[in-house]
Symmetry: D2
Subunit: 474 residues, 4 copies
Amino acid sequence: MTMIPNVLAERYATEPMKAIWSAEGRIVLEREFWIAVMKGQRDLGLDIPEEAIAAYESVKDQVDAQSIMDRERITRHDVKARIEEFCDLAGHEQIHKGMTSRDLTENVEQLQVFRSLGVIHTKVVAALARMKKHSVTWRDLFITARTHNVAAQPTTFGKRIAMFGEDLLVALEQLDHLIETYPVRGLKGAVGTQLDQLSLFDNDAEKVDQLEQRVMEHLGIKRRWTNVGQVYPRSLDTTTVSVLLALASGPSSFAKTLRLMAGHETASEGFAKGQTGSSAMPHKMNSRSCERVNGFHTILQGYLSMGAALAGDQWNEGDVSCSVVRRVMLPDAFFAIDGLLETFITILDQMDAYPAVIERENAYYLPFLMTTTIMMEAVKNGVGRETAHKAIKEHAVGTVNDLRVGKITSNDLLDRLAGDDRLGLSREQLDAILAGGQDKIGAAKAQLDTFVATVDKLVADNPNAAAYEPGAIL
Amino acid sequence: MTMIPNVLAERYATEPMKAIWSAEGRIVLEREFWIAVMKGQRDLGLDIPEEAIAAYESVKDQVDAQSIMDRERITRHDVKARIEEFCDLAGHEQIHKGMTSRDLTENVEQLQVFRSLGVIHTKVVAALARMKKHSVTWRDLFITARTHNVAAQPTTFGKRIAMFGEDLLVALEQLDHLIETYPVRGLKGAVGTQLDQLSLFDNDAEKVDQLEQRVMEHLGIKRRWTNVGQVYPRSLDTTTVSVLLALASGPSSFAKTLRLMAGHETASEGFAKGQTGSSAMPHKMNSRSCERVNGFHTILQGYLSMGAALAGDQWNEGDVSCSVVRRVMLPDAFFAIDGLLETFITILDQMDAYPAVIERENAYYLPFLMTTTIMMEAVKNGVGRETAHKAIKEHAVGTVNDLRVGKITSNDLLDRLAGDDRLGLSREQLDAILAGGQDKIGAAKAQLDTFVATVDKLVADNPNAAAYEPGAIL
Amino acid sequence: MTMIPNVLAERYATEPMKAIWSAEGRIVLEREFWIAVMKGQRDLGLDIPEEAIAAYESVKDQVDAQSIMDRERITRHDVKARIEEFCDLAGHEQIHKGMTSRDLTENVEQLQVFRSLGVIHTKVVAALARMKKHSVTWRDLFITARTHNVAAQPTTFGKRIAMFGEDLLVALEQLDHLIETYPVRGLKGAVGTQLDQLSLFDNDAEKVDQLEQRVMEHLGIKRRWTNVGQVYPRSLDTTTVSVLLALASGPSSFAKTLRLMAGHETASEGFAKGQTGSSAMPHKMNSRSCERVNGFHTILQGYLSMGAALAGDQWNEGDVSCSVVRRVMLPDAFFAIDGLLETFITILDQMDAYPAVIERENAYYLPFLMTTTIMMEAVKNGVGRETAHKAIKEHAVGTVNDLRVGKITSNDLLDRLAGDDRLGLSREQLDAILAGGQDKIGAAKAQLDTFVATVDKLVADNPNAAAYEPGAIL
Amino acid sequence: MTMIPNVLAERYATEPMKAIWSAEGRIVLEREFWIAVMKGQRDLGLDIPEEAIAAYESVKDQVDAQSIMDRERITRHDVKARIEEFCDLAGHEQIHKGMTSRDLTENVEQLQVFRSLGVIHTKVVAALARMKKHSVTWRDLFITARTHNVAAQPTTFGKRIAMFGEDLLVALEQLDHLIETYPVRGLKGAVGTQLDQLSLFDNDAEKVDQLEQRVMEHLGIKRRWTNVGQVYPRSLDTTTVSVLLALASGPSSFAKTLRLMAGHETASEGFAKGQTGSSAMPHKMNSRSCERVNGFHTILQGYLSMGAALAGDQWNEGDVSCSVVRRVMLPDAFFAIDGLLETFITILDQMDAYPAVIERENAYYLPFLMTTTIMMEAVKNGVGRETAHKAIKEHAVGTVNDLRVGKITSNDLLDRLAGDDRLGLSREQLDAILAGGQDKIGAAKAQLDTFVATVDKLVADNPNAAAYEPGAIL
């Protein structure tokens, strides 16, 4: 029998994320959940022998996926197969009391989601710490900002990085909010009325409530749904994937921009340690990793589309029409964002900027970018506004046309302006204005300093997260 | 020239929402924004004559869309066209100082989004108030809960409504969070560095900051971006549409379930006042409005798909590749959710349940739902567990088969069980058990009471919202 | 190291589909492709020793995925790793001449897609053959057609099935068209200009063309692209997934309708051989498989969303931003449609209808559905049209209201009409009209006969496909 | 009352497309449809007075949208409102005989779709004719092809255009196929059984068939569905939007590439006649229109997402849950593709390439691209392969590094190689090799010639389409 691995997990995701979503990992989570419920039930008065609990605990890590699958092929019921397996291993029948399948699966799947959110949180902080570092490093690196992909006004490379960083920061707030408010379904029974737990506890609602609280403590989730059916509303899953997509936005825009910069050789995602370009094409530093980040973003769009189709589609108290979708969408969306962040952090660790090339680009465009200032100076010198405007326009258009048709190969606008009596500006004056262009970055540095301060606080609050080191990527 | 109206706006959305997004409404918002900036600049020291401000204010409501469009067809620049129009009307040239087009459009569009969120908030509260009312009304209406669309366990109709209500409540929290944390772009200039405002104020960063704070006060938005480019990150738009979709989830699931119930005639969306079914088909209460709610949900999926494609696609400091998408997606998503909520509230105002039909359904299924209890009673009476199980299974399967092949037309399981000596249960005992089935709704009522209490608090905090009355729907 | 399987492949897809997409299967396809190119190059004049070809052929099935992955982790280049592995195994370096990575991967991936389309074709025919069979079996089974989920007019169950079948038939035409016109990229080189093959063959364009034709013969694909870059346009992938979604439409609508019918117990997806309902709930035939079909449809929407985002996003001659997306989307979309069709065929093999329950439903609604005819008969008898209309409306509304409030439990409209002198129709006359209702199915049978004839021809053309038997599903 | 226009229609779509989808246009289409059915019924034997037909025909163009909307607000039934309006105008009640609402609306909407497909077909041919022209013009313009956005191998600009053109050509085949095979629903009645038409014609199936054929002739659509319910399968709508998206792919990739080229100033979308860059920034030719094309592509993704959610969601014989979605999706998808093609054709009419800049780029990269050839020449000269490789790598890496750190500003690799005795190649030899680089475009020209020939044939078959001139865009 052929075995097809999950390509997102196997090529891109990391061990901790895979551990959460592995068949074996999930089975252990389920068994721990059953044991937690069982202990809670015992503490609240049900007659469950201590030895049974001990027996279950002693075998909880003995996971034989094949045996379980064999059972499922007979029963055509996945949870029943896993109950039988666990009970046979333990030699007792004390788990799953008053529980329906969804009392197990919904809670355990939510735990998987919740823990995955934590893993992602760490990596987002790690990415932001690196973005901050670069923002500081290139705080003063004067670059030509582009709008419509065309030179517009100056900024600094540090500010550009902070810009994408702030996108990610705002998405991180969404992640924080989701983690803080994430509600778990709890033990609600077949149609959500808690009938079976209430029956177990002779309709003692207080005890059932306490049992559910224990479950929440076990899961580490602080909030729960009250009114649900067989399932919790799938809008929660949509929101989850939506937050993952928001987290992908900043890195994806950053990656697109780095791909563009690589095209101009002003920056690149760099090489892995020891890697070199081919001898034939040493200039060819392919933005493979950046392209991959963009690919992950596209993948997340697809999973969000699945999630959006699940929400708002509950029939009565629910069914399993969402089951196969969630089996795919939830782990795969987390594998994708995990892979995206690993790739993104690696890019941040290896990327480089090429100040000399950047400077050439600046030199090419700066005279154009300074024409407004030049005109103001000419006017200050007593030249008529209309005259100045006319002269400058004439030379600017001439320069750009000559550059495009190949008459000239570098921007000689200042020469032309210096040679035009109408403006009355000397070459020295014009050079001074051009030199002053370096100051035309407005509040860029102050802005990025704000980003830096915010991330510094975040890093101080999450020191381990910030120190996270990614694995080697393919 | 043919004029195509926006079908979502014209057929489904309400006047307040349309006013926010109308061309005229937007132009007034823009002019008010320009005036606010102009006043701020004057207060902070720029030389702007009082009479100019007065002139702009006096003409700000004179909107001639055709004249503006004519200008745009010449300039091929929409903002320039609107500047010229406003200045010509006022007879001054004092607006838009140090501003780039995006300093106007981004902020005004965000204001449109922000106000629309407020409109939607009101309607969500109004819907929840009605769901609460129904939940109370039908608190004790015993119904057969369904999983996989098949009878499962008892619940109450009030609980079922509370279930969809809680989905909406959790989505409302997301809306609240978005409104509270929504950041506006502010006056950041062509590439985000605030260069031009800083130039205007001789690099006095403090003054530029104060100007931006004034802008925020004018908009009524408490938070702003710091590091942006020409545009704010489009992930914010994605998040906005994502929240709208989350708000649609509860109503959409409710609508699907009501469509299902209408198929069984246990409930229906009812008729408008004075409307009656056709004489030929008086039973045919088509769930047109519920179907429409589901249609709106699908539409929102499409807009979310557009939004998801915009995020993570920023090239350098930005461009207008998102422009046409946002012109469509933002208003249309709000028109869709507005129409959805209007329709949903109307459904809530007109819907009805049919207890007699519900009771027939209960009677049909209840004996099956009570077999576990019957077995337990037989065992209490001294019958062997295996014997009881065998007898009950025999009769249950027999009954269902006879119902399906038409041998019988109503559920006679109790007769069969009463007539079987193996169980030793009298007809009276069995009837008593069946009657007890009415108590098998677990915590349904307590759960819905929690929903009711939560909504009561919400309504107390938003009395006007709760009292909102929808317009007539098509 | 945890190993995460592809859940779509492992739980739902079949061995032949998995074989096409397995890592091992793909490596063999690649090696066969290299060998085919190598043989073509030799035949066209390149100096490639026969023993090298023999050596490659002798080791082509020796696939060691781990060894290849180890190589990739060093080279960070997947194709290079696979070249080295194959060459080391063969002890020669004769493959991949004049080829760039994409000359290998694009063609092999297209082959995977193309073969998968063939697998799917077979199953669609198999599904249609079964739909036809049911359409014939239930050709005359009179049912109450529903619009808006409410009883509308009569039809037959066979016609209902043919309706969903015709949806699938039209989608099958799309599949046929795609298979017939599917163009392969061929050996186009690094930027699509065939530079390297032309260099190999001293710019002999004729030979390069012949080599490409050989490649097409090897692949079994009749058409090729001429003008491409590094990659073929991704719109072809979008179209492919779009066709898969179209194929899912008929089955998905069928599955939804069967879920609805199960709620009314008029039909069900049935049980697997030997399976029975639980004793407690023998009525509970959960539509798990139908729900799963709907789930697969949702999944395909997500993959189509990914595909739609890839099209129209080619930068220059291409890059790998689509790579990770296609690694996920292409196999997973095929696994999903494969699983959908397996599940659908299984449903068709196990489903059942319950004529007695259907008849009860008909009896409940038929009097309402016949009121137009009754009025016409009354008018024929000389009663005034207005009078007749008034009387009938009165009784119809009365009946439906009494049913809803529980005054009556079966439809007694005919009794009421018979007892009303205004209409002048005897009970016998009314019974005759009602009996005539059985003929009010219009062209239902003739329509389904057309479907049957079309499928018969299809089956005759594809006898093996029609005879396809699905594997056991979970 | 505020009136919100459809932004896609009003800003971007053309009059012919708007006419098809306008409220007024649709009402006329409906009235023509009713008249066609009425005439058919009369010819087939129904008693319909000639004067009634004449009366309807005489008023069919008197469209009063407000009056109809007023009626709809009373009846809450759009079709009924339009029947009443038309009958009141004509003074007869002869239309809509034996028809249900969907017999009108489905067919008329399909006619709108079908005619829209024709409009789009024209524009696709027009776009291809222009792409062909450019491909010829720039057939020999040697450019540096880029993969991963980085210089890779030579090609020609004509070939690059043909590459995106072939994407569009293949999509055009899909459009052709859709137009040829597009099936109309016909007169199938309330649940698809044609009951009411059969009743009208005393169960004469032959006459009903003839009537439907007349309807098809009237519509100009050659194919029809046989087995449908109240509605035709919505998968047909999904396929329609999917084809529109495929058509958008080539233009969208072309637009992205032109945006990239504009960033390098190797090409631009140009200016409208008379338009000039601003004086301050004459270099700033913003790719606004290209960005818009990409925006339209994103919009179409959203509508495809809506369409994908409609397919496979039919409950029984159908309902109106798709209604609001189709009201939005169908016209808006056509407005979007119409706007996209208008914009794209305008770009093609105004775009320009800058050979001098292209040449500078080539000069910068060509030495790197020729290193393989240089090594081969050195080896021919008797230099050891290893020696040559080592020397070339040394200089290539040195050159690229010096360029990046700013030591040099133009590529001096050839100087370095000429100065290295190890290679034994004179400056003249190296220059000759470099000059030969101009021939390294492989089959680029032959490939584009194939594209040209295909489009020539297409243009010959569609002369009017090719001559289509777009309107002025905003």
